[in-house]
Symmetry: C2
DNA sequence: CTGAAAGCGCTTACAG
DNA sequence: CTGAAAGCGCTTACAG
């Protein structure tokens, strides 16, 4: 490593102490303006680069935050969380922090092994992005370390999590379907897979209840197995007039399936999604869906971890981020209602 | 910060020196097996966590690699590079390195400001993922710092880059179209946008040349403006029987456009893409395309930066990664050829 | 306004 | 096999 200019070098060349250089470069008081300028100029000239590692040593802080994403939420078809990660990174950087991505392998998740970045003090805290197994959540909860769960939560009230308002989002989009004239509405999603899917189901159910529509068991359609792998959706014999899907990707799959059976969307039946991710606009017809406010979620998560790094006593509980409906082409009144 | 157990603490409790603890924990020789075990056990018990910052200080190395992606290649519709980043991260981690993502804002790119991770020595090298402006390439080239360009290159032969074999990939998929019976083949892409698009065009052109097919200017269709924003594709009056698109996303857009004109793919005309990303399988019909070997590219890039970190003299030049054709549904013989 | 001293937690090179 | 010393580059707290 050459070009290894240190504060000391600058100090020596100027005949001052490194303390003074440190103060000047950090714009702290205790150095005359004149000297400060001289120091800054020389630093520039010499190509001085600050050594963050020294600061880390001194403060015991890495100024890195680990973003942990379970493997199954990554990959070519699961770009949603990577996009959230990207937002997190950008927000982190504004605050002088950096995000280190850790893909949690299914193996590590099963064996309850924590990310190496934890054991090496490479990060000051975690943002866990995407639901892990119950056991793993507990494992992470068990360590005394700043952490925020993003986009999921679990029964323990004492964990800090930032989530979309799944319940009301789903409630409202179901209301919208009902207002459009639908009463035969199915829900697509595995109720025991993640907290999000479950809450979205309950929002849908609330809407039915309020409108005195009876929930039929055969209107709850499973979309994935316990591992989260998508399975073929079993359509009921009596086709509902509308489907509330737990996410856009599943809505996309459903539309394909319906089409293959010669059923047109939205003419023959309506479909709505959730997330407003790439699948919402890529599907033909484009999907009416619930938009998740990724930026707001990332912002909260970042704010919370950083505050917890600074003060480990802080706690935030479950924080909901508002969502809103994006209207596109996949909804029409049911056929028999059209005059 | 509590739970701040150091090697020193372990040493004190055991009545040995911290040097011995360091050796034991790092499995170096010079400590009796018995003592080593005792030290390791105590470390475990005390919840000791290694302090990577101290090592960084000592060695002047952060063990982080910065992955720089220009802003315009990110976002909800551009998941390809984020996926590459994810591969990079995983490979990096196996070697004890960590990836720090830096989204290069268009503003910073224009003003030629380098990522802050550079000025703070937060990283030991860069992987630049995605083509930046010529000026920015030169700016980065100008600093004495390990760097590898991934998925693009420029005229300067002395830069290390890992790229897909765009030329031959495109050449071969065009050959395939010709073998299928097509002779009226258009290319879709802005020839002056990136090195990849240009090389893919040239591969297509080589195939035409070899088959004595004359390249018509009206068969080169622009797909984006100088900023990389997609524009509406202008179809020629005389529709070709096949289209070679510079990437899957553009192929996807083209298929939608053709469909909206009542032209069926692949019955009325064939379309091929490049990348084999999410758009390849999401398009209806699924796209025959050239698969980019993301894993292999990431592997090379990581290997090269790390070697350059260790020995700044190393250089690798342009390294091509083989691609191969994935056959799906978007190609059929041209109509008039079908008996 | 300026600086000497001490320390953050580890490792290397050397001595015993 | 074990350890005292020095040092990585910075900052904090204190003294002048």
């Amino acid at each position: 490593m050459k070009n290894n200019v240190t504060m000391r070098d600058i100090a020596d060349q100027l005949g001052v102490s490194s303390v003074t250089v440190s103060k000047a470069l950090n714009d702290k008081e205790g150095v005359s303006e004149e000297l400060k300028l001289k120091i800054k100029n020389l630093a520039e000239e010499l190509g001085y680069r600050y050594n963050a590692a020294a600061k880390s040593m001194k403060e015991g802080l890495s100024y890195n935050i680990g973003v942990v994403i379970p493997e199954r939420f990554t990959g070519i078809n699961q770009s949603f969380y990577l996009n959230v990660y990207q937002s997190i990174t950008r927000i982190l950087e504004k605050q002088g922090y950096y995000g280190i991505l850790h893909i949690l392998s299914s193996e590590d998740e099963r064996n309850l092994v924590l990310p190496r970045i934890y054991y090496e003090r490479k990060v000051d805290g975690f943002i866990v992005l995407g639901q892990t197994s119950k056991e793993y959540i507990e494992k992470i909860q068990g360590i005394e370390f700043p952490k925020v769960f993003l986009d999921f939560y679990d029964e323990h009230a004492d964990i800090d999590s930032v989530i979309t308002d799944n319940f009301y989002g789903s409630y409202e989009i179901t209301n919208y379907l009902i207002q459009t004239g639908h009463r035969d509405i199915a829900y697509v999603g595995n109720l025991h897979s993640t907290s999000s899917i479950q809450d979205r189901f309950l929002g849908y159910y609330k809407s039915l209840l309020e409108h005195r529509i009876i929930l039929k068991q055969e209107h709850i359609l499973n979309d994935r197995d316990e591992k989260g792998t998508y399975i073929d959706i079993d359509l009921p014999d009596q086709l509902p007039t509308a489907f509330v899907c737990n996410c856009d990707q599943v809505a996309h799959n459903l539309v394909l399936k319906l089409k293959s059976r010669g059923i047109n969307v939205p003419e023959d039946c309506s479909v709505v999604g959730f997330d407003n991710d790439i699948y919402a606009t890529i599907t033909d017809p484009t999907l009416t869906t619930v938009e998740v406010d990724v930026e707001e979620m990332a912002q909260n998560a970042v704010k919370f971890v950083i505050e917890k790094v600074k003060n480990s006593e802080k706690s935030f509980g479950r924080v909901l981020v508002k969502s809103n409906i994006v209207y596109r082409e996949s909804v029409k009144p049911p056929k028999n209602k059209v005059k």
